[in-house]
Symmetry: C2
Subunit: 451 residues, 2 copies
């Protein structure tokens, strides 16, 4: 207990530091250097508890401060104190979601929360099904699995050789997990058709994945138009709202997902825009019972049929996983603490910061928008060639490397299609302010001035 309290003291100090703008976001070292800076090797003999405390401090010293108000590098940023407390409680409870028997409260909270999320999507009385999965990629894979099973239930027993060629339509800006899912499920990546316009002539059995908040541009597919096509051709409609789904909680912004209630399934990751600690990803499904039929294998050592309680709360056989980590409590407790209006305010603020950045650089000399930031969830922009001496391709990587070496801020960059490296500025950190946005632009200009 003394040991645990000592670790807690280290963690509390780290948290205070993480929110301090005078602290570096990152104390960067190259992999080989970091390997040598500490003794990370595993030994036959035990270490002392003092050594263990030293290891904890070293680990945090070189960690990225993802809670730092100037950390913009990923879709998941920030650190919520209630969410963190909930995650600590989850670790302490150290149990498994597969049965009510071993996780009674967490199973009920998952039930309550999924129902609430389905109500927000707009499905009647919040009816339907769902599961918290290990991330948006797996949630999307679940959707593909369900779409296939819905059309060809025999695929479960007989495999893909029993069904016609399957095709998934999606936009060219959809997340790469659609292709990973297609590869894993035996559909094949060549059967993922990336479309610019909707295909009207379908020769194969399709599923459609629309994206609400694309990874690179933060753009929204037109869900109503897509749902019309899906209805006409009897296509399973999945909405990947891993990033943008949280906008459903904002009365000001939820119109961007108009038509989401027509989807068959929706991915929605509270660990992104809602700043729930990693991992927390939900797949919501409109049809009840389908997940169970699709995935169940009736393991009799877990799902005994003669238990003394209502077996519908043994949700484990719906999952691809056997054991499943408890991801629900941090979301549920944060929702209690903030209320729906608290999440709404947090999301609105992130989008306001994004708009502020848009207005700041849209006419600024030397910048060019890569994608129209006005309708986007985040901003992509590039520094123009005429402001720099070298090749435009090298500008963003060099500035980013310098950011990491100075440790002052972190933002992502990438190429896309015929566009060379541009910055992709994501704001999901509730601790960020207008001043942090100002700082970012100043820092980009300072670090890039000699280029």
């Amino acid at each position: 207990m003394t040991f645990l309290q000592e670790v807690v003291d280290i963690l509390l100090a780290y948290i205070v530091e993480s929110f301090d703008r005078d602290t570096k976001v990152i104390d960067f070292h190259y992999p080989n250097e970091l390997l040598q800076r500490n003794n990370w090797e595993l030994q036959d003999d035990p270490a002392t508890l003092d050594d263990i405390l030293i290891s904890c401090r070293a680990t945090l010293k070189y960690a990225i401060k993802t809670a730092h108000p100037r950390y913009f590098n990923q879709l998941s940023t920030g650190l919520d104190m209630v969410g963190l407390a909930a995650d600590w409680l989850t670790s302490t409870a150290n149990t498994n979601m597969f049965t009510y028997e071993v996780a009674p409260v967490f199973v009920l909270l998952e039930y309550v929360t999924l129902k609430k999320m389905r109500e927000i999507i707009g499905w009647p009385d919040g009816r339907g099904d769902g599961i918290f999965s290990p991330g948006g990629a797996i949630s999307n894979m679940y959707a593909m699995l369900l779409a296939r099973f819905k059309m060809f239930p025999e695929v479960k027993e007989k495999g893909m050789s029993s069904v016609p060629r399957l095709v998934a339509f999606t936009s060219e800006h959809s997340h790469f997990s659609i292709k990973k899912g297609a590869a894993a499920l035996g559909i094949g990546t060549e059967s993922v058709i990336c479309i610019k316009k909707l295909c009207k002539q379908l020769s194969f059995i399709p599923l459609q994945c629309a994206t609400a908040g694309t990874t690179v541009y933060g753009a929204f597919d037109p869900l109503i138009a897509i749902s019309d096509v899906c209805k006409k051709y009897n296509i399973w409609m999945h909405v990947d709202g891993a990033w943008g789904g949280s906008l459903l909680m904002s009365r000001r912004h939820r119109w961007k997902l108009d038509g989401v209630d027509r989807a068959n399934s929706v991915t929605w990751n509270p660990h992104k825009m809602m700043s729930v600690p990693l991992q927390c990803s939900a797949l919501l499904v409109r049809e009840e019972g389908l997940m169970q039929n699709c995935n169940q294998m009736h393991a009799c050592y877990l799902f005994q049929q003669d238990k003394h309680y209502d077996l519908s709360y043994d949700t484990g056989d719906k999952a691809l996983q056997c054991g499943r980590h408890v991801d629900i409590f941090k979301l549920w407790l944060m929702w209690r603490a903030k209320g729906t209006i608290g999440f709404e305010a947090q999301i609105d603020k992130c989008l306001e910061l994004s708009e502020y950045l848009y207005n700041k650089i849209k006419d600024r000399e030397g910048y060019e928008m890569v994608f129209d930031g006005k309708v986007s969830l985040h901003l992509t922009f590039t520094l123009l060639k005429n402001t720099v001496h070298g090749s435009l391709t090298q500008v963003a990587p060099v500035i980013k490397a310098r950011m990491m070496e100075y440790g002052t801020t972190m933002v992502s960059y990438q190429p896309q299609g015929d566009k060379v490296n541009f910055f992709r500025m994501v704001i999901s950190n509730p601790a960020a302010t207008f001043e942090d946005i100002d700082f970012l632009i100043e820092e980009i200009e300072r670090l890039g001035q000699d280029l």
Copy 2:
């Protein structure tokens, strides 16, 4: 910070209570009753921090005390203080395994630990590959994915329609995740051939899953014999050591896995016999580079090729997941604290308790072994009909329901094949003692005496 410390105080009190034999393992309530006992609903408006603390206390009040020395219900039990501290640190660091950029230390620790595990398996110089995945079912699915890709790399792009019918051979006692994986991957459950003996005539392209520590009986497949067949017919050999893999750390017991070094892949879950907090499951792969080739999709927003550090540390594209929870730190820190010899002692002790139970009941009146406990990882036994008035089928469920209502202990039961309900006694809890085993038997007899 005050709030976090208040939650920590609640958690510390819960931990002390969990290890106290005078505390109930479970304060059981039926789902509908539990739903009504507290206000679990999510509201529009925020709750006060005091309300949040009340919610934390209520959640723990109805939680199962998985650390309790008399909790034997699952393969994952116990609570290690160093592991818990490491999990709290992980939550606080709140980052993602996909790139070195955002998880430098954790990526290195995964590298160091996987290498060590491969050395223990016996692969030369610990070479090979691997990943920590969200549980044994996903680790097994990875193995099937790799086996398929190794034989037919075109399946990634072209899907299952481009390859011959695939078959997976496994024992009838293998884990249900093999079938779940086959269903998901488009192989189909009918192509999972559950064999009693090894097939010598293979008409299809197969992969073989051997089990080291079966879920129900804790039995070991003969890995050397299986590896001979696999070699002869060029079959991918996967060893599902989710439960039994940890025995590799015991000089006394590792002979049960002799031949594991001949496998192409091994699942090994430190969250089971090694008592690492949930979740912590590793897939180890003998061939380097295969995982990357099998799963990579080159997402340019994460895996930029012009970063300033060694890109081999950006391990995310090997994974099926995009974001991946940090599961490594708790294992690494426990390994540091215990040393390899500490894990060995812990595992040996669990098996000693199992042997003690075996000796206690093998000749005891009214008991029958379901499976020869002498070579097993855990014990399955049944109460005999002549000691009870009712039907033998009902005995175990009634005793189990009473255990949960009294809250004194928890142990699993199940039917299997033509065998009616029997008890399945798993010992992985380092806090359990000989007295707790005595207590379990007395409690079974006390709760079942009127049956």
